[in-house]
């Protein structure tokens, strides 16, 4: 067929073109770095399940998982990671972990009531459960041993105080997933300490629409002088919106990723509220190892807070290196 031959020729041509035209700048680091294979413990190998409400493809969860994997490697643990953003499905994943007889379970409790039955089944079978990232109000009464995380509302309050201390007049809090419990809690916290805050819902699955919606809001209300984003990718988009709208609003955000480091360095983004997701993942796994091997419990029945702390120009250099490596 003439058509297919033409397509094949065009395809080959493009491939040749692609191989011939290289970029001498940027791209993947050319020399491979030696992997730091640290020592491991000599306790017997065991399996731990980690079940989260991760929405696939969010860079925040990368950090949690990396922390968990680092701890698993050190502790001679086989980590079984699974996730589902829908609470009933997540509960099923916990149940399958219980059924397969894992040694311990680390779970996020974004919607605690939906998770209760599965978590209690685990405890009935004598499988220790720790919670992290979400569920600060519910973990204790469910019989969960420990909790590592940041309270969304408290983190929001500290962001609001930061706005006040910087002399902001009016702020918007950009929610990328309408109805998400922790995101709404953060914005409620911001509003609590900085009352001149308005929420703005955007479609987080579609960046151009995020950009135009924030632009539209800034044009609609020129008195807005601070944009608070709830995730690093959205903060970077908000920076573009501010430019589009010709506004002089500043941008602050929750959570970090590698690209955000440069934005904080050059002043596009003022600060990021860091809840140390790597630490949450790490502690969740490591605490189970401690409990299973030595009966230790971290926190003395209180939640172990991993945040909030602020990353801004004053401390970015100390963190930048780890962020580029994908662990902060």
């Amino acid at each position: 067929m003439r058509f297919s031959r033409l397509a094949a020729i065009a395809g080959t041509g493009l491939l040749v073109l692609g191989i011939a035209s290289c970029s001498s700048t940027g791209g993947k680091p050319r020399e491979s770095e030696g992997g730091g294979g640290g020592g491991t413990v000599d306790t017997p190998r065991m399996t731990i399940a980690m079940v989260t409400h991760e929405v696939p493809g969010d860079s925040f969860w990368d950090l949690i998982r990396k922390g968990a994997e680092a701890a698993a490697k050190k502790d001679n643990i086989e980590l079984r990671y699974s996730n589902d953003p829908e609470a009933p499905n997540q509960a099923n994943l916990v149940q399958t972990a219980v059924d397969s007889g894992v040694a311990g379970i680390a779970v996020t409790l974004a919607k605690p009531d939906a998770m209760r039955a599965a978590v209690e089944n685990a405890e009935k079978k004598g499988i220790p459960v720790v919670a992290f990232n979400a569920g600060q109000d519910a973990w204790k009464e469910m019989g969960v041993k420990e909790y590592f995380g940041q309270d969304g509302y408290i983190a929001g309050q500290s962001a609001g105080e930061r706005l006040k201390s910087e002399g902001a007049k009016k702020a918007i809090c950009v929610i990328q997933e309408q109805g998400h419990v922790d995101l709404e809690a953060r914005c409620a916290g911001v509003k609590n300490t900085f009352p001149a805050t308005e929420n703005l819902n955007v479609n987080g699955k579609d960046m151009p629409s995020v950009e135009s919606t924030i632009t539209a809001k800034l044009q609609q209300d020129p008195s807005i002088d601070y944009v608070v984003a709830l995730g690093a990718p959205f903060a970077l988009t908000a920076v573009q919106s501010v430019k589009n709208a010709g506004s002089s609003a500043k941008v602050g955000t929750f959570d970090t990723n590698a690209a955000l480091v440069d934005a904080i360095k050059n002043g596009d983004v003022q600060w990021a509220v860091d809840q140390q997701p790597y630490l949450q993942g790490y502690l969740a796994v490591d605490s189970l190892w401690l409990y299973l091997n030595n009966g230790n419990v971290i926190g003395g029945g209180q939640p172990v807070l991993t945040g909030p702390s602020f990353i801004d120009k004053s401390n970015i250099d100390a963190i930048a290196e780890y962020a580029k490596g994908g662990t902060r």
């Binding site: 791209g27 151009p208 690209a259």
Partner: protein
Amino acid sequence: MSTGTTVDLSERKVVHDERVKERNKLQRLVIRPEMGALIGAVVIFIFFLVVAPPFRGPDALATVLYGSSTIGIMACAVALLMIGGEFDLSAGVAVTTSSLAGSMLAWNFHLNLWAGAALALVLSLAIGFFNGYLVMRTKIPSFLITLGTLLMLSGANIAVTKLVSGQVATPSVSDMQGWDSARLVFASTLPIFGVQVRITVLWWLLFTAIATYVLFKTRIGNWIFAVGGDQESARAVGVPVTRVKIGLFMYVGFSAWFLGMHLLFSYNTVQSGQGVGQEFIYIIAAVIGGCLLTGGYGTAIGAAIGAFIFGMVQQGIVYAGWEPDWFKFFMGVMLLFAVIANNAFRNYAAKR
């Protein structure tokens, strides 16, 4: 038999019954598929002009047009495919696939970004070809085939990104060769009469114009209507049905590539979870613009108007400063209004 009788034609009157009635120009205009959408758009536009003072400025129009253009570029291709009688549910995720591929191929193999873009184009066209080929070969409805592709692509997006870059977002490519020139083509901003207009708006208008020309002035356009109207009859009169449909799927692939490049060159890093659910927005825009879900009917201009309505409602609600928790509800009301206006108008026009 006498053949000598002469018929005096000058006395004869031509019978006009309603079947061969000439339509006047106005009627011909109002029965166009996109007319209902156009009137809906005008009404919504005036509505927001009244209720939202910030909506009145030219800057606001530029923002609305940008939001519409990224929907419209895809809606144009999706509308053509729907006229051809097929759906592509993988269209939203295919956009993300394309920008991920362009970014990571260039990054991983140190290619010029234009080469990365070219390889991404090959991939996007291949995905379109794959969809079209399977639909034509298996005779399974495209709704199911592309639902499979949608799931496959959204999984592969995340898995491959993680394999290559070790995280779920692609690494920055803004320091690589070809960035500046590619950004100029795919994601620049042009000052037009003092208003900063995004270049996607111009591309959107261009693609719509080309699609309109192809649909109404070329043989290929006739083929598209024919295969969407009745595939078997079209084949019987010699229309290359398989090639037309595969071509339409590949055009969706091309548009997904174009929008994917826009995302890559305007945001630098790409989140691999993006794009899920966008396919319905493209189909909604096409339907608002007068495309029938059954195929064989619709226009590219209609899809552009549909995208404009969508962009306008999305940003207009923000300009009006309404309670954000109701955002989606308002959007639903507006869209329902547009579709009903469209439908009522079409029925009214059809009766004339």
